[in-house]
Symmetry: C4
């Protein structure tokens, strides 16, 4: 499902219709679409990293219960909806400021929900030792929860940032994705394999 | 395939074109699309729950015969078509009453077909003990058939409800999905693992 | 990949825009789209049956060589392109006769290519006994080749039929799909498991 | 994910709207779209071959580390974006020369990135013997690196070719895909199974 959401993002990259060029060169028309490429790249990175992390989290699981299935469905909801705010941001990043802010805040709010869903899934897995191959030691768990809390605050802060600078908001999500890639896998590796 | 149908739903969420805002704020234009978000959420929930139930039903199966393959293909047909009535409902939920009724009844009828297909697949599996790891005890089977019958009547009733209130029809399907999630897995668990 | 092609078909079912109803009821506008539903159903059936048959053929395979990979890629090409002639037929089935014939012939030609690709894949598998778990006995092979030949002639005949009656062409493909479902699996079952 | 990208290509094949035929026959309107079919075929072939090669490379891997995950994500990015330059080329191949060159150069540049990403993934796998079932002998490795270098130069040359003849650029990529199919699998087979 991550594979599908990440691949559907490409449908948000529009090919300008020849009739819409109005004598302009295709080169310029394509260059003009830079917000679409940027939004595509950041969303691709975000979904890609969460895909890797989800995969490494599922590798820890021995079996799933109803609670984890629901948490997983909630995560899938937030991930599969990402092409919508991505398209929104691509369309309105260079529009008048108030609309750019709306689009950027919607984007940031979607990412906050996704971060929240990922944290819930992690908690659903780790709160019941029977669901895991190897129980996560209390220390690693406490530190993970603390990191999820800080991550949540960062995500929430990007909603505010969206009203100051939509571009800075997008850059912040690229950085958060890269940070999470290097950080999140650590406790899983330590505890699991 | 469930993964694909559930992810394709996001293509039904339209980004309003800047030229179509006519001075209105993007905020209002997005808020105006609430039927699309609602239809998206309910369809996501419905496909998500049937996905989980289908998965837990397939876990009971030891092998498949021609009959189950056909029943499964029929279920896939009803699930993969869901993005169409979802888009229909999103577009016409707030249109004039007669068109909203048509869209809502189409949505409810699709869900009735899907419920029927799921029941047929369940019967195709359980009527032949050789297809299962552990045979389903006659009691559990009778109670499942009774529950499917009641479920079918509920689905059929939502077609009528569509003509009274499309919104109530949509709410009914959200509730039915949640109900089936908690109910349907029970006999599978009891009989299987 | 079959799963994706079969699910993408739903994108060919258009929701009429409210502005295009011109006072007509949604009911009538939907009824007016019957060629789209019909083309959707037949293409779904065709892809579904080939999916089942491909699955049962792959179950016979112990390993693949370059030739089978290429034959498989050719089959995937013909299957993944099916949404295009389906959309074409849905749009032109009720257009002026010459365009309906073109659309129907394109549809029939795509199916002929798909049948050809399936036959090639079957031959690529069965010509080298080392690729199979159990070698297919010469009798079964000869009879399969004969059946593929007859099937190919039938598919080719539907291209002619497309110029007489596009609807009859569509019905013929529905019948051929159902026939292949019951027939094709037989030798695989006899030879394999 | 390759399966999804390869299947999404079909969405780039447009069915001409009846109102856009302006009395022309559907036959001619379809024939007029030959650049779209050609771009579809070449992109299908390119993704198909890289899919087979990626599969045979992954079969050599015993496990993955962070570096290979990132290299893999980069490859997925370049593959999943292919429908965009394909659509671009289909739309502008027969437009005025300067725009056709831009579209063709974008297509060639995407393929260059994909070739680069594939080489990086290969190096990420082979530089650490612990990631492989059987270490690749130094000779085979050196020869593979040399071949990747030559391949990269060929891909880069097609960007130049795009400004001379977009059609020749497309033909070059079809030939490169077929060449890579026969060549690339060889060292993997020799070293692996």
């Amino acid at each position: 499902m991550f594979a599908i959401a990440i691949t559907l993002l490409v449908l948000d990259l529009n090919v300008p219709a020849p009739a819409d060029l109005h004598g302009q060169s295709l080169n310029r028309a394509l260059a003009h679409q830079w917000p679409a490429y940027l939004a595509y790249l950041v969303s691709f990175l975000v979904i890609g990293i969460i895909w890797i992390n989800h995969h490494s989290m599922c590798a820890l699981a021995r079996r799933v219960d109803r609670r984890t299935l629901f948490a997983n469905l909630f995560l899938l909801l937030t991930v599969s909806v990402i092409p919508f705010p991505t398209r929104l941001l691509a369309t309105y990043l260079t529009a008048r400021a108030s609309d750019a802010h709306t689009a950027a805040a919607t984007y940031a709010a979607t990412m906050l929900m996704m971060g929240l869903a990922f944290s819930l899934l992690f908690l659903a897995f780790t709160r019941d030792a029977r669901l895991l191959h190897t129980p996560v030691p209390p220390d690693a768990l406490r530190s993970a929860v603390r990191r999820f809390g800080i991550g949540g605050l960062c995500y929430a802060a990007t909603i505010g940032l969206a009203y100051l600078s939509p571009l800075a908001m997008l850059a912040a999500h690229a950085l958060l994705a890269i940070y999470y890639c290097f950080d999140q896998l650590a406790p899983a590796r330590r505890a699991g394999a």
